[in-house]
Amino acid sequence: MAAAVGAILLASVTLYAVLGGADFGAGLWDLLAGTTARGRAPRGLIEESITPVWEANHVWLVFDLVIFWTAFPHAFAAVMTTLALPLWLAVGGIVLRGAGFAFRKEITRLSQQRAAGAAFAFSSLLTPFFMGTVVGAIAAAAVPANASHASLAAWTSPAALMTGFLFVAACGYLAAVYLVVEAARRGDQNMQAYFTRRAQAAAIVAGALSLAALFELQHPDLAFFNRLTGRALPLVVLAGACGLAVLALLTAGRTKGTRVIAALGIAAVIWGWGVAQYPVLLPGTTVTLTNAGATQATFVALVVVAVAAVLLVIPSFALLFTLQGHRVLGGNDQGTHRAPNHRIM
């Protein structure tokens, strides 16, 4: 039962990564889109693509936290104590980002829009980076079981920092691939080419960083590295293959299936991490899925919640994405609402 809940946690982390991660990545491209005039078209596409869905995508984060603290409270308390600083910084990014994005839609004056847009874009960079350092620190065995104070060294190791950069690159990669498809769907060839170049660049950077992080991980915890290149090897290979396939498809100008393959690649990395750690929750300690503080009844309750989520939430998400895909959702309010400046043209 504990393993099932572990799988549920990993599945919802995966969904947060492939849905919420793409939203962060879109913020990254917003940041790099250049001046107001040059960035108008990409920013418009980004906003149109994520406006109706970002909030729902980010609920996965809250869901991940809840499952983590309910099923594995001892590990949760240890992570929250040791890695308090990067977690606070990630929270700061989430506040700035959500507020900046929500406000930017409603304000019409260009200078204010710029300020809100900058908050949104800059924090899109912060949050994935610090979340990456948190995951990197856990994988690099830097979280003790009985943590009583925060540690700077835990998340500033080369492995943790590299994971931070990897998260930023992976978010950018996912977002660019998704935006290529969004542009193609709108028949916007300029934007399709624009985001294709960025998807390719991000794919190469993310690939290089994954390899570097992989080899860096053998220093702190050789056993974990051995399992990553042992029993988790098929998933690691799958992740690499997906990345190469997306690169090849994009180079050939094909868009069909690229989103799914890109997301599958990210999922393979996350599940590779999970398989390599199993059943240990905090590498370098004896904290496992079964002894982290919860009971059988808690696990059963969480499995029931997860089943309910599959029955209720997944069809609702399907409806949301279908409506969004058919461009039914757009235009906040006919007649009274004016689109922000950069959406025009």
């Binding site: 109706p52 909030e55 729902a56 980010h58 609920v59 809250v62 869901f63 809840v66 603290w69 309910t70 099923a71 409270p73 001892h74 949760f76 308390a77 929250m80 977690l87 606070w88 929270v91 700061g92 989430i94 506040v95 959500g98 507020a99 994005f101 406000f103 839609k105 409603e106 304000i107 019409t108 104070h149 925060a150 503080g293 009971t295 059988q296 009844a297 808690t298 309750a301 919640v305 989520a309 209720l312 939430v313 609702s316 998400f317 949301l320 409506l323 461009r327 039914v328 959702l329 757009g330 235009g331 906040n332 309010d333 006919q334 007649g335 009274t336 609402h337 004016r338 400046n341 025009i344």
Partner: protein
């Protein structure tokens, strides 16, 4: 750096963090709870407006529904952000609580997550579906938002209720050994906390909406648009007020049984006794009550319907187990009750005039009351949270774990508290500024739409010329 930190922690153990920890939780929760009220109740009010708009082909109600949904989008987005902060704070500020009881109180949170999903997903459909979803299809897409707001609120309040009346689990040597999920979700306090807070949310959202239009009416905008906007907020909130007072009265009696020390602080009951007087206002300092009005036997009467009813005082527990600052708990309780009755009065006034004359009251005082009713509801709700949270101290889980045991052992909470105060001040100001800007934009649209036969051509004010195309 690390070594000196460790020494400091060893020299001044946990309690040093409790005050800043609680201050930060109070700031972030106190801010979020206002947005949560709108998240819970505003969808129903918007749906009511849209329902009337569709049913009676009422253009005014329809226009209000559209505009409110835009404001709702901003409020839900900011609420989602501040809610996420709270999820992190559960671990960052209270690792001791989560470590020990995460497996118990986490389950209602999991259920809440489910409803949070439904709320966010259907908000995405409802808020952005105005243009292309047909009438009733659009209305129905909003129903799950309203329902998940209510059920989500029940789940979160279940956690708070459990902290007040913990049960439904067994533990041995500090480890949870079994959990009865149903009993955790529906602990004793849940039966009164759930309806009390959900009604509070509807009162906050309803009176706040009414306030906006009461201000407009006071400024002379006496048109159908403003009266409809006022009515759609005021009527549901005023109708629910007497129910809220009934639920609150029941809750207070139950607290006298479930958490007698909290009740003693609420009512200044120092010694367990019979014929306990009721104190209205008054400040308790060192055994004396200054400036209060004493009603003999009233407290015993309220608790047990007879002056002979024995009421437990705070002398029933050692001083270390009593909540701090009894006067704060008592005064916030009185303010909450007082404001509740004033809001009831405003509703009765409107009902009386409507019954006799079939119209709204004319006196300016009524509209002034309407204009401040939103603020009054917010203050009452916040006071209620002060009563229940400060009144539970020194415990975080009543009788089982102290707040000091739950608090983080990390330093730096004062730094995060200062940053949070600044960030939330900016966030609150920006939210209000955006709502005011929306309102100004709507007013300009209305003015532009009014026929101006010989007037100058329509200008779009500070809109750039490009905007005309959209």
């Amino acid at each position: 750096m690390r070594a000196s930190e460790t020494v400091l922690l060893a020299a001044a153990p946990v309690p040093g963090n409790v005050v800043p920890d609680r201050a930060q939780m109070a700031t972030t929760l106190g801010f979020h709870i206002i947005l949560a009220c709108f998240g819970i109740a505003l969808p129903s009010i918007v749906l009511l407006a849209e329902f009337i708009g569709l049913r009676r082909r009422d253009e005014t109600a329809m226009r209000l529904a559209r505009r409110w949904s835009q404001a709702m989008g901003v409020l839900i987005a900011v609420g989602a952000v501040t809610g996420t902060v709270l999820s992190f704070e559960m671990g960052l500020l209270w690792p001791g609580l989560m470590r020990r009881y995460g497996a118990v109180l986490g389950v209602p949170f999991g259920v809440e997550g489910l409803f949070f999903f439904l709320e966010a997903i259907f908000a995405g459909i409802y808020l952005y579906g105005w243009r292309r979803l047909a009438g009733w299809a659009h209305w129905w897409s909003g129903v799950p938002i309203a329902l998940s707001g209510i059920f989500g609120a029940m789940s979160v309040i279940a956690v708070n209720a459990w902290m007040n009346t913990p049960g439904g689990f067994t533990q041995r040597d500090g480890r949870i050994t079994s959990v009865d999920v149903w009993q955790v979700f529906f602990s004793r306090a849940a039966s009164y906390e759930m309806p009390h807070m959900i009604l509070a949310a509807y009162m906050v959202a309803g009176f706040a909406v009414a306030s906006v239009y009461a201000v407009g009416i006071l400024r002379g905008r006496r048109n159908r648009y403003h009266y409809t906007g006022f009515a759609l907020g005021f009527v549901p909130a005023a109708v629910l007020t007497p129910f809220q007072i009934f639920v609150g009265d029941t809750a207070a009696r139950a607290i006298a049984q479930d958490q007698p020390v909290k009740f003693a602080a609420m009512e200044y009951v120092a010694q367990t006794s019979r014929q306990v007087p009721e104190w209205l206002a008054g400040v308790y300092v060192d055994g004396h009550i200054y400036g209060g009005i004493k009603i003999p036997d009233m407290d015993s009467l309220l608790v047990g319907f007879g002056p002979g009813t024995r009421v437990t005082g705070w002398d029933s527990v050692p001083p270390a187990d009593r909540p701090p600052v009894a006067w704060l708990i008592h005064l916030t309780f009185d303010v909450m009750v007082g404001l509740g009755f004033l809001l009831l009065l405003a509703g009765l006034w409107a009902a009386w005039t409507w019954w006799r004359r079939r119209r709204w009251p004319r006196p300016r005082l009524f509209w002034l009351a309407g204009a401040v009713s939103g603020l009054a509801a917010v203050v009452a709700m916040e006071c209620g949270w002060v009563v229940t949270e400060v009144g539970r101290q020194p415990w975080v889980v009543y009788g089982l774990q102290t707040t000091a045991q739950a608090a983080t052992t990390n330093g730096g909470v004062l730094a995060s508290l200062s940053i949070i105060i600044v960030v939330y001040a900016v966030l609150g100001t920006a939210t209000i500024a955006i709502l005011r800007m929306l309102s100004r934009r709507w007013r300009r649209d209305d003015r532009d739409e009014a026929p101006v036969p010989y007037g100058p051509p329509r200008t779009l004010g500070d809109q750039p010329a490009l905007e005309v195309e959209s």
